[in-house]
Assembly symmetry: D2
């Protein structure tokens, strides 16, 4: 179970965000579409941040429980991809923003729900989770969402009962999906687990760990357990980015620039891929159904802390730590860090310049400080070797950790 | 004028992409909506990559000229933001994906075009460029696009004449925007420069430099000239990400994961923020009007080279290069690289651990290898200093480059 | 039970229409959406005409049975109006053409189905029929439709079973109507009677009597029994006129000009208000789901026999049969026929001219040949009497049948 | 020039309608979209009725002038049909209700405006009027509308100037129609005559005569001049019925049941086919842009006077005036009135009964009181003759007016 830091500089920084958000945003109103939501304390406000290294911070009412509601959608979608693969899942639900509200009747020309972030698409995604019964399906979903959170999540029976008794529209939407041939199985075997998944109780803390699990490519950074594979995580983030905020998705990418999902319970989850996850909680909602203060918190966070996806600074640390010419006309490039295509391009650029200018007899690439190398990097480094060989230059790889080998 | 590398390992890698894309994609058909486009050579295929460090690579027909068409849209939008600011520009055009084709009549409830990537929104963006006349407006646009490309772009008079004589629908769309009160000035003073901007001749090489300028926060990495400010660049990338591929935008984020824009001339531009820009060229189009092979090239590139936005590996190089305890109970954290919130969080995490476990008399933060620090990093480092002081520990910053100061 | 004439001039005339329609129309294809419909004989073609005086004619396969399907919709709507009144019924379903197919998800801003001729509106209308159970509701509907037809209609159990087992979409549509608060009662208590009403077996003969009942203001001209009141009949005809042919309603008013309704069983019903009803039957359907030959028959009928609603000739028989001046300066206007506003205007016009030109001492209005007078006529005739009195002229009504009195 | 009766029983009746309408309706607000309309006197209210026999009645401000605005649309559409035929006109504009406001961008799949009653369809209809220039086109339109009204209509120059200067949206709509290939000629040559036709000055009196011309099958009942042929008149009425009241067309057929068209100048025209035309005028408009009191007047008129299209009583005057058996076993049917299919069916029904029961040697049909017989009637009477002949019965037609001959 994750342990959250509740004091210190990071906490002070995010606590100050809460203060600023309270000043910036008009308060909104607590959801009332089911009575159980209406009793939420409108004054509650909390935020939690969990990094992909497993550092956890919280401020405000981050440990207060509420129901996850629509925030369950991306995680169940990730689970569906994990189980069936994206190709199969896309046969049942599209990935295009619909420009419509969460409860819209939105099907594409092929009869599929526009995307899995609107209700009808989310229910369809739930229907895809392999199970013999509605009960088993929900059990699998709860287990998966608990694995994302790093602790067992509990069902709020009263909220579930309330959703189930007022969910006529969702039942009808599921019926349409079934009539279109995209919902798997019976309507009730999809809708009941869906109502239950929405009624799972979470905290802002939980949301931050769930988000950090997506940020870290599917591995929960607190428990170390892989929940979904890296492709499923990335694909889920993509659909959150394009469809997560319904008919405000374009505005969200522009203003916040983090894949996110909100729920009428007052929660919002946001992900900074490869970096960390954020959970926010504040019950009063704005006119489109997002937590009003939650949105404000994320706008302040994105802006103040420079977290926007496209706010990516030019990497200043070169993967070439040093270039040294030895006595024996050997040039050694000492490399460092994780090597991807971009890093490899810099190495190649430097290596080619070295070959051209210093005309060494031997080129040594020292990978002792390299932590990882993806296939594109391996490929480019091999190409450098080829080039050196063609010039009659001996090439040597010092790779003690065997990063090129696996 | 940019100089492109045409051999070596990087070029070999991207040349191989062309071969794979040819095998993967069905060919498509050259656009014929204006006669001048129909004469394009369907066999042409080229790709160019320009990194934010100004390294330029090309393969295939990357130096072949064609008209920029809709790829002009994001760059003119960036120019409009640069001139008027995003707040003003958003009064005239929205930022939401419309789920509709490029020539749709798509206005939001406020009467604004849904976004500036569809024709009606792009014409509206053009109308916003401050100018006394249509001619001056086009001159400003050409100058800006030339600055993005790093060389003067020329008008294709025949294509322009053809567009102007067959552009009834675009004139009507502009009329609707004007009737809605969002188009600035007269219809003809917007439509004529728009037809001209679409008829500017570019190469895949040019597109890669233009894209790299957005990747680098508005600075052309070849010429070193700032073309738009960092906010305008990021905001433009955001709108490209959500709306750039029309009714395939969700699929594009999922499959490619790079902000992009295509044109019926056969070009596509794609941006890897903070890293590099890509230009692709192949005239035959698929059924939705994107270069068929161009799309294939970008899918292969994104997949093979791991360039998807959300494919961001956990950063393995710690900003804390070393932690050393001196004789005099002084602990020195040697820091490195560009410090943003994420890097600062890691530093704070380490520093707090050091303070707790080693209980030093003095804590030294050595910023000699730090290249930059944004406001969030400065703020967190200051907070660490506060915390140390409260514990009665002396804190020392070694900041020879004054990265904290500016 | 109605007896149909099967020979003679009228039958010859309508039989010839069948021949001409066969030549005019391409054949279409029998519906296959449920297997039971697919077994229909595509060669069958029949037409029947029943006048408001109860004259019944048929030609071709007019006695062949098929399921009524969507043709049940206007009759159940009439029943709903009869039971609840139009005001209440309109709270549950609109009356505007939706421009959409029969199975569209079409709700207006108030959440009501656009009209009761599309499936979702028809199911809603069915839900309104007061009953304690689904079985009772269906019994009431069957009784009413049998009264329209003048004979007991039977349920086709196999078609019903087939509809019920494949009706996912209709169940979902009903669910949406219920979620919108416009469907009365439970979904299953509306959908089951709806599936049953669609599976009632009828003939073209039946349809012509049902139509004649609407034509005659709600009185079955064969049995003499009033089925619905005149307002309900007229209101139903209005909705058939605007919405009966789905997204071809404008074309239908233009080309045929008779309120009508088709069903996928191959039947079409059409009404010439105040004159007669027509039933047509031919199983193969055109691309929008109407009986292909049935449409052709009605186009020929409307065109050849001048039945278009707006093809109303200027009435040549004056309601003033004669004007006679007696010895004693008495002028007698002998009136005839049914007097409505239009007839009364002509009488007033003549009477005023007589008063002005002949200056009689006494004006006598002889209503001995008048068969009826509506309130507007009574009012205008009273006004003439006032005017005569003011001029000092004695006015006398000879009204042996007391048409002015009731 | 038509002369209107301003006193007497009919006038009293319609004057009372004005009083009742004032009580029934909330007042609405005068149109302000162009300044010239805003100066209209909101207290004005007038109504005029012209029968197809040329009787003209008026009450209230029926002689007050205002601009015709959208009421010009059906009359220009009738002119287009008269000139080109319905088949050609339908290639340029559809006939389906769009369910949208008057200024909607509403095109069908073939790129045609949904119907000619919305602006874009009306401008397209105007473009079809054959002419060498915009000026000639307007002259032809003015001449035709003047012929409908029975007096020369004048252009309101100030209103025209105002429409022309604020008509951006209409220009854009015309541009879209042109881009779709359905607008004939240049945009300005359609839009300018359209602005002018909308600015023609009319009175409620004029509207009633114009409407009576459509009611009478295209013949102006006051001047006796044929303006359009009967088909064009009927076709125009059909499109008015389905599309004339925009997104309230279904409600209008239900509640009023007369083809009608309104204009923002405060006028409404309504037609009782074969009977009379109505013009109403009152400047304040309701929320959908129809004259608020005008709508109320027509609802009262339709309801009080039983004018709804489907309120057609069963014709009580039999076309068989008498049946007499002569000494010589000759049976004579004395016929009367205008014979259409319905009347002929009654004659045939009687004749067949006579042939069967009285078994005469000779059957005489006396057409001395018959005023007209359409082709269907001629055909059925011939069929009776055939039948008689087959039974060996001599048949004789007494047709002094040769109604069967022409």
């Amino acid at each position: 179970m994750p342990v959250f830091v509740t004091s210190g500089p990071i906490v002070a920084a995010i606590a100050e965000v809460l203060t600023r958000a309270r000043r910036a945003a008009s308060p909104g109103a607590v959801a009332t579409y089911i009575p159980e939501l209406a009793v939420a304390d409108p004054e509650q406000l909390g935020v939690a941040v969990t990094s992909v290294l497993g550092h956890c911070y919280e401020a405000g009412d981050a440990a207060a429980e509420f129901t996850i509601q629509s925030i369950s959608k991306p995680f169940v979608y990730a689970l569906a991809i994990e189980e069936l693969g994206l190709v199969e899942v896309r046969k049942h639900a599209g990935v295009e923003p619909s420009g419509q509200p969460f409860n819209a009747i939105s099907f594409d020309d092929a009869g599929r729900p526009a995307n899995p972030m609107i209700n009808v698409g989310a229910i369809t995604a739930t229907s895809l989770i392999p199970a013999e019964s509605a009960a088993e399906r929900f059990k699998r979903i709860r287990d998966a969402l608990s694995a994302f959170a790093g602790r067992p999540l509990e069902l709020d029976e009263r909220v579930y009962a309330s959703e189930a008794s007022t969910g006529d529209r969702n039942v009808a939407l599921a019926g349409l999906a079934r009539a279109n041939g995209v919902l798997a199985g019976r309507v009730e075997d999809a809708v009941d687990p869906y109502f239950r998944q929405c009624a799972l109780r979470v905290t802002a803390d939980d949301l931050s760990v769930m988000a950090a699990t997506l940020a870290g490519g599917g591995v929960n950074p607190v428990t170390g357990r892989r929940v979904v594979d890296a492709d499923a995580a990335r694909q889920t983030l993509s659909v959150m980015a394009s469809c997560g905020m319904y008919d405000r998705s374009g505005d969200w990418i522009l203003e916040v620039g983090l894949p996110a999902k909100s729920g009428v319970g007052g929660g919002i989850v946001a992900v900074s891929p490869g970096r960390f996850g954020i959970g926010v909680f504040s019950p009063p909602l704005d006119e489109v159904g997002n937590s009003a203060l939650g949105v404000a918190v994320l706008k302040v966070v994105a802006h103040e802390f420079g977290l926007h996806l496209f706010n990516r600074p030019v990497t200043s640390i070169s993967p070439v730590e040093s270039i040294e010419t030895g006595d024996d006309a050997t040039v050694t490039l000492k490399l460092r860090g994780a090597l991807d295509f971009v890093a490899a391009e810099r190495i190649v650029h430097e290596a080619v310049a070295v070959l051209a200018s210093r005309k060494p007899r031997m080129l040594a690439l020292d990978l002792g400080s390299v932590t990882d190398a993806d296939t594109s990097a391996v490929r480019l480094l091999s190409a450098v070797a080829e080039e050196a060989k063609e010039r009659g230059i001996t090439i040597v790889f010092a790779d003690p950790l065997d990063v090129l080998g696996h």
